[in-house]
């Protein structure tokens, strides 16, 4: 069964391990480079792109501000169309509901469409404890599941694996859980995809219960939407007799018409295509077509906590496209595992602390710092989530929760010392004289771009800071001293 993220080290430690893996860095650089080029090309084609982003953000904001009303409307629409609506406060409650439905039909396996919500709640592990096997059917999820690995990307959870590694996993593992990989399987992607087709087909054809998430849930019409590429989604949504969909409460949109924005924004941002190969929509039960028993589980699991944060709530606009991962200079180098969650990258760095709250777990508290605040994520976000703004906001929350801790953190001591020094003209003058002296004593430092020189490695504990950063050489004369000496530049 798939490993879990519990007990992951905080980001800096996990990132250090990831950075040492040259194969991983090579795989990531290749994959993110490819997708960035594709996205830029198809986004450039759409002249009204900026307007679509504004519309997407506004629709999501308006919905979130009245989320209770839209959810009640959704429940009413779904119920009228024959679906059963469940509400789940947390992961455990959601897992229990899905397991009960599966058990009610006496099955020992379910087929799954790729779904972030079910990953977030650890559904596969929960079902396994109850003796029910959950087969992941998305190709990348299959690679992760067969390799007993962890997902590292929202869209392509096996982005950290290259074709040769995937071939090895297929050859080694497929036979243990069903139809084995062909003897002569090579690492040509089309052949690997073909092996997955054969391996999974028998599972699709015999499945009684399907489990999915949803990209969108339309309140007005009770329509659920799943956006995918391979057709595994269509298989799971169409062939089983029973369908259970776990849907985060923030997935609701008010009207069917609103989808004309999101079905343009999502595919181009996500896989860099004008449209993804398959989008399925269904509204409750359609007599004679597809599952005749349909359940929808509306999931909170921290979303209302995020909603209560007036700065952070914009993260709930997220449509899980993963464009922010693909452009992030930090993600590109560390990969997704370092974030210790099913939501990696810039969006994960804000979503995890918002869903879980800060101040309880060092791993979660480290995430708002897993960024250089360069802002590339905001620029590509199709629903204009200002990720840097939320990161800074969360950093202040993390600092606030540690205020008054004994002994104080080194940053807190440094900040307090700086405040004391800068708060008084005489103390600042003394500090400037000291820094000028350091500047005169260290004239032969390494040149930085632009000509200014850098100090070398500082003595401990300063080395903890200077090992990964360049500290510019202090100027030999402060501005105030220069002003005084030259009478404001006149002398």
């Amino acid at each position: 069964m798939t490993a879990t993220f519990v007990g992951m080290p905080a980001f800096p430690g996990a990132a250090r391990t990831a950075l040492a893996d040259t194969q991983l860095r090579q795989n990531l650089a290749h994959a993110t480079g490819t997708i960035r080029t594709k996205r830029a090309r198809v986004v450039g084609e759409v002249e009204e792109w900026e307007e679509l982003r504004l519309a997407g953000a506004a629709i999501k904001d308006n919905t979130l501000h009245h989320l209770d009303e839209h959810l009640l409307r959704l429940e009413e629409s779904l119920t009228e169309l024959g679906a059963t609506v469940h509400w789940a406060r947390d992961a455990e409650e959601a897992c229990r509901i899905v397991a009960e439905v599966a058990r009610g039909h006496g099955v020992d396996e379910v087929v799954k469409v790729k779904s972030m919500a079910t990953q977030e709640i650890g559904l596969n592990e929960h079902l396994a404890e109850e003796g029910i096997l959950a087969w992941e059917t998305d190709l990348a999820e299959l690679i992760v599941q067969l390799g007993d690995d962890l997902p590292s990307h929202i869209l392509v959870p096996a982005i950290h694996r290259n074709r040769a590694e995937i071939r090895e996993i297929f050859r080694r593992e497929m036979g243990k859980v069903g139809r084995p990989a062909p003897e002569d399987l090579t690492d040509v992607p089309a052949e690997l995809a073909g092996a997955a087709r054969l391996h999974l087909r028998e599972k699709f054809l015999r499945a009684k219960v399907g489990v999915s998430g949803a990209n969108f849930a339309v309140a007005d019409t009770g329509t659920l939407v799943v956006v995918e590429s391979e057709g595994n989604g269509r298989m799971c949504l169409t062939l089983p007799e029973v369908l259970v969909s776990v849907v985060g409460v923030e997935k609701v949109v008010p009207t069917w018409g609103d989808l004309d924005v999101f079905l343009q924004l999502l595919p181009r941002s996500s896989t860099g295509e004008r449209m993804n190969p398959y989008t399925s929509t269904w509204a409750g039960i359609s007599p004679g077509d597809g599952p005749q028993e349909v359940h929808v589980v509306l999931l909170d699991n921290g979303r209302t906590k995020a909603l209560a944060d007036t700065v952070g709530r914009q993260a709930l606009r997220c449509i899980r496209c993963s464009a922010c991962l693909n452009v992030c200079p930090v993600y590109e180098r560390t990969g997704g595992h370092a974030y210790g969650s099913v939501y990696p990258g810039p969006i994960g760095a804000i979503l995890n602390p918002l869903l879980k709250g800060v101040g309880h777990d060092d791993q979660v508290d480290s995430l708002p710092y897993a960024s250089s605040l360069c802002g590339a994520c905001f620029e590509v976000c199709p629903v204009r989530i200002d990720i840097p703004e939320v990161l800074v906001h969360l950093r202040s929350q993390v600092v606030d929760t540690h205020r008054g801790h004994k002994p104080p953190k080194p940053e807190a001591v440094a900040m307090r010392t700086a405040a004391w020094t800068l708060g008084d003209a005489r103390r600042l003058g003394l500090a400037e004289r000291a820094s000028g002296l350091v500047g005169r004593l260290t004239r032969r430092g390494r040149a930085l771009p632009g000509g200014r020189r850098a100090l070398g490695r500082l003595p401990w504990p300063g080395s903890l800071w200077s090992d990964a950063r360049d500290l510019p050489q202090p100027p030999t004369e402060s501005f105030r001293a220069w002003w005084k000496r030259t009478s404001g530049g006149r002398g």
Partner: protein, 199 residues
């Protein structure tokens, strides 16, 4: 308190700051853009981009084009109510998924074609068949009338019925899961043949 009441309560508390606030303006200019010239040509180009096969013909030529598209496919199912004749076609009598898996091809119509994205949309009514029909067989031949082709996604969304099950199809089944390179042919039909009927 049950889960429903508790979640709704949490939401109301969370957004209390928005009480009485004006809604955010939603710009909708994207809905009224002028349609590009040559919508049908654009549709054909964009469908071909996905490496699907596209044929254009007059309405009268459709049965012949269907025959060509089917090639050597032996067991072919025609969606119930299909307006074109398909020689020797199997009818849908509620075959199980396993039985559908033994078919070589399926022929359906569509509800809408989207030019800007090269998408066909099925609403699975007359001439289109239940969803499993156009999913399990490996070749899907789909006839779209030229007058069903709209310029973009907004026009398609406006024309479709949200309470019918829909399948939006853009090329054959594909994946980008291996090194983010696109590969055609995974679980859905590996071959998609679109016939555009009329001018």
């Amino acid at each position: 308190m049950n889960a429903r009441e508790e979640i709704l309560g949490r939401i109301r508390e969370a957004v209390a700051d928005r009480a009485g606030a004006e809604p955010v303006h939603v710009p909708r200019g994207y809905r009224t853009l002028p349609a590009p010239d040559g919508v049908v040509d654009l549709f054909v180009d964009r469908v071909e981009d996905y490496r699907a096969v596209v044929t254009r013909c007059t309405a009268a030529e459709v049965p012949a084009r269907i025959r060509e598209a089917l090639g050597t496919a032996g067991r072919v199912l025609a969606a119930p109510g299909l307006r074109y004749d398909v020689d020797g076609a199997v009818v849908d009598d509620g075959q199980t998924a396993l039985e559908l898996d033994r078919l070589d091809a399926v022929v359906t119509e569509a509800s809408v074609g989207i030019a800007s994205t090269g998408t066909i949309v099925l609403e699975h009514g007359t001439g289109q068949g239940r969803r499993a029909l156009s999913l399990v067989p490996d070749l899907h031949v789909c006839v779209v009338r030229a007058d069903q082709i709209v310029p973009g996604v907004p026009e398609a969304v406006a024309a479709l019925d949200p309470q019918r099950p829909q399948t939006w199809i853009s090329g054959p089944s594909a994946t980008s899961d291996i090194e983010l390179d696109r590969v055609e042919g995974v679980h859905g039909p590996r071959n998609l043949h679109v016939i555009v009927a009329g001018d």
